[in-house]
Symmetry: D3
Subunit: 237 residues, 6 copies
């Protein structure tokens, strides 16, 4: 039996709290069980130099973990003077996924910076971050449309993400830390609300996996993401 008596296909309780902090144009606390990530979307007029005059906007993402979001304290990246490879990998993933959901032409020459900061970690921080960031992004876009800074809606579709994996030979959905650290295979999937795939990243941590296992994991991901997108929609209404 999984912790919390979950079935293999079951995600943890997902919770999305909008307007969690006061200043950002979009600010969301997303919780996947005990994993809690604060996602803010900051809208500013103007674009980086390489896009000036292109008529096109820009969206980028950054990710961080509070030093004691984890079981034992991690070094603070600001104090060490650089972001780890893992951090950079995750923030590149978040940015890439969100850019796939936005029509940058429609955004006009404006910039959105998404910050995902892990307050408490229990596995799946990157998939929670993508899920929460998408909602913060919607809020920031609506804010900009309300101000007349953006005309048409640049959002192409909602996106959400979940992790799946093989644990004790069984495919499971939305791994928490104790499962994640013992999984043979770990896969993160980002999908659209229309069921298409934006990103698949599957890694054999222990034994290589088979084509069949890949298909089973994909099935679980599809099902989990559908539920998560329902939660996003409920939060947005």
């Amino acid at each position: 039996m999984r912790p919390g008596n979950r079935t293999p296909a079951q995600t943890r309780p997902i919770s999305i709290t909008r307007n969690f902090t006061a200043h950002a144009e979009g600010s969301v606390l997303v919780e996947f069980g005990e994993t809690k990530v604060l996602c803010t979307a900051s809208f500013t007029e103007g674009v980086p130099r390489f896009l000036k005059g292109s008529g096109q906007g820009w969206l980028t993402a950054e990710y961080g973990m509070l030093p004691r979001s984890t079981h034992s304290r991690m070094d603070r990246e600001a104090a060490r003077g650089k972001q780890s490879g893992r951090t950079q990998e995750i923030q590149r993933l978040i940015g890439r996924a969100l850019r796939a959901a936005v029509d940058l032409k429609q955004l006009g020459e404006n910039t959105i910076v998404v910050d995902c900061d892990v307050i408490q970690a229990d596995g799946g921080t990157r998939t929670a971050a993508i899920t929460g960031a998408c909602v913060a992004l919607v809020d920031a876009l609506n804010w900009a449309r309300g101000k007349g800074l953006v005309k048409a809606n640049p959002l192409k579709f909602l996106i959400a993400a979940v992790s799946v994996g093989i644990h004790n030979g069984e495919a499971i959905c939305d791994l928490e830390y104790v499962e994640d650290s013992a999984a043979e295979t770990d896969m993160n999937v980002v999908m659209t609300e229309t069921g298409k795939i934006i990103e698949v990243q599957g890694t054999a941590e222990g034994e290589p996996f088979t084509h069949e296992e890949l298909l089973t994991m994909l099935e679980l991901a599809k099902h989990g993401i559908r539920e998560i997108i329902d939660t996003q929609k409920a939060a947005l209404n």
Copy 2:
């Protein structure tokens, strides 16, 4: 009239929430009005090399602001590759103040790292951080005593902090952002529960201030800190 109809001597509503996150030995969300700081105290056995064999413990503090804790987004220090002078100044202050409250001999060869991360900023983040960190420290020390890792109580006294300043020619207590950014003088005071002074840092941002103004500000600080320490005690019971 001050924002929120406060009198000059009045602090903002102070709230202290213990056990805000799950992993740290002490974890406190402290709120001074709209300023919200997450303070964790991480206890680990052992000390840095320069103290090995000394029989004495170590306590250090780090401070950070989430990029969108502020009105407009700040660069992420981890991405820029260094902590600003302001950040270093504040974390040195927090560490110094907390070390004054702890008998490092009684702590034994153990280390406490305090992390103060600003979730939302509205003035007074350093004084809120010291106030919240002291409570997180108490929790971490009690955790360690419960585990038998520390014998006698290393805490010498509670400490708390508040900012005072001269604004429009009048001395006021616990400045929020709109006041702070327009104040002629800004002073941070850290005191013990017994009314003694640990740190005084007064700076003329505009006009130099007089000896009398200094005394008036000190009086406000003393009064404000007394109330804040009452809030700490209530939270700890």
Copy 3:
């Protein structure tokens, strides 16, 4: 028609030259068409501190591009003072993939560092790097066994990698630069000689992709990797 008159399923000519440089225990120049990567495997006795006494070895990988391996000159990372997120992502991928192929217990307390340096880039540098690095690794392990530094063979299986993608709506294998930069979807696959999967990383650069497209790409990858592993085996005999 693809450049070089390739069919969709066809890889570029793959060439593997062993002993390309003199000093490394394994040194391989791998060519996927015009993409040329020098892969060296350096064997040293001893392990990093966190593994001392564990009886287990360590393997890590680094990746770099010569500044003018690309169409226009890139900044030298050593001069800029940091490795880009892309570089770190790739070297983490290479290291993870190779570790999956090695029994670190059998390696004993020894360390292998793999360096993959791109001499000339034309798309698919990371998949070429993994493919060449695996051969360099085999040479370094054989060197170590010849010296009696390693007893049993730590290699579990050969691994190789190829990129696949959707380009003009069609799935194609081993994308060269002009294809890669215009592809809607880009996927890198690492597999074992036994046909199992070690890593799948699929990214929608433009439109999201469907489950069926994913399956078609996987099929191409499986077929391409089988051929690449034949080339590895031929080079090793």
Copy 4:
């Protein structure tokens, strides 16, 4: 008795040598006993980008210690690749204090950079630096006025600084190293020639201090600064 047979209120011999080096617009060697700091003020036309078109000038300060200005050699900050928190704290203090003495509107769109480099350290380097830098600043402003680059005199008043502290239970003025390293409380005070306060920074290094001790220290500081400002004036005539 204090070293050098000083009374508690007595500063060390203060010496101010103008035109100590040839190139800077203002160049002062300031000596507080054995503490020797070279302070240069560099005047350049133009301001940083954020002030362009504001009609307002800028003043900033940097601080450093020669590696062997201290009893045992310190690491060179340029070689370590970053300035310590202490260095940043001190240079921020120097810059803040000098800006309080200057009407930046009157300075026009010009920049003054003050460099304070400790040649020999024996306690009180930051207060010596502020004292010497003020004289270098006056020389640089006079140079600029002589050249017609600045019209009216931007200097509002002279400023000077001194350290005070509690040592063996007694308040003393201008602590040298052996006193400073054993003091229970250390306080740096910056004042104007009109007796107003620009900065007060008091820290309990050992025991917290009382309101009365604070007042006694302030009294000593006021008296010491008055004498130091007389020395500045003598040097400037």
Copy 5:
């Protein structure tokens, strides 16, 4: 007898391969025996800001060693986050020497960046780099003239370099690693095809050397460089 049965005055076999890689405007693999350096010259229109409007061009050089170009693996400078003093010293030397060979006025407002990357090291990498870089530079200039980007030929003369030294009391030319690491004196000489000197850097690694030894070494260098320049000319025809 020297390794390879060389006479004291004899250089190693020198080989120069043009068009070694595809993208650079000039790309040369230079080999001095077992020392192999890839030299690329990248031509771009425009100059750094400090030269804009001057009508003058710019040329700069960078140098690096692949981590396993050496007997035991060196740390990758990009991963350590900085270039060593040795690297910077060498790349400054290469840039200075090449600039002496080019009329920057004739180059017009264009920039050439030369990259010298050591593929395999066996002593004399800096002199091989200068020699190969000069040929890559010629190719890049010819490319630019072919495109009409540069009018008259900016090349003033060919340059080449060789190392000489005192080893076992005897002056020898073009030291390989085993000689270099045991030499008492090591001298690098850069000369023009007309026999004039561009750079002389002689260092006593062990015993100081005499005026006569300096003259003998210079004689060997002159002779060696004459041959190397013949090889350059042959490669360019």
Copy 6:
């Protein structure tokens, strides 16, 4: 005529002041005309890890310029976060030259760090630094012998340095800034008191130079260094 009415062979007035600062084991202010460099030699027991147990000592040097030692202010290297290539080149030269003068076996397992900090620059800072550092080194060695930390005298010979160059077609000795910045050729020479050569670094800044010019410059250097060593000896008596 040269500035200061010097003949081509004449050095500027050289002055060497020992015990310039209080803490270092050797502390020398060296002046070559208006060039002023503070050289300290710090003696500590023990050696870096790579020499432990070797019975051999270590000597290293660092170099810096105060930001306003120059005509216009230079960026502070500590603030920029790295030392320039020029700085590293110079400090490597100083260290290499001094190591040639010391028998590291006789030094025993002790370390000397030499710091050369330019207070005021007017050309020839590196040659002044070597000259002053040698005297500081002698003082530090004598201090150590007085304390019994070093037995026999590790100093093999005094060393000194001077710059020579070709300026307006004429060879001159000890170039000051206005000469240096207009010289066609610049050469730094380090020699022993016995007239042997430790380092020769000649660079064509403009036109390449001839063998004959090299010989003339060497002659000037030899003569100049002989006088400088006399000044060192006078200072040491």
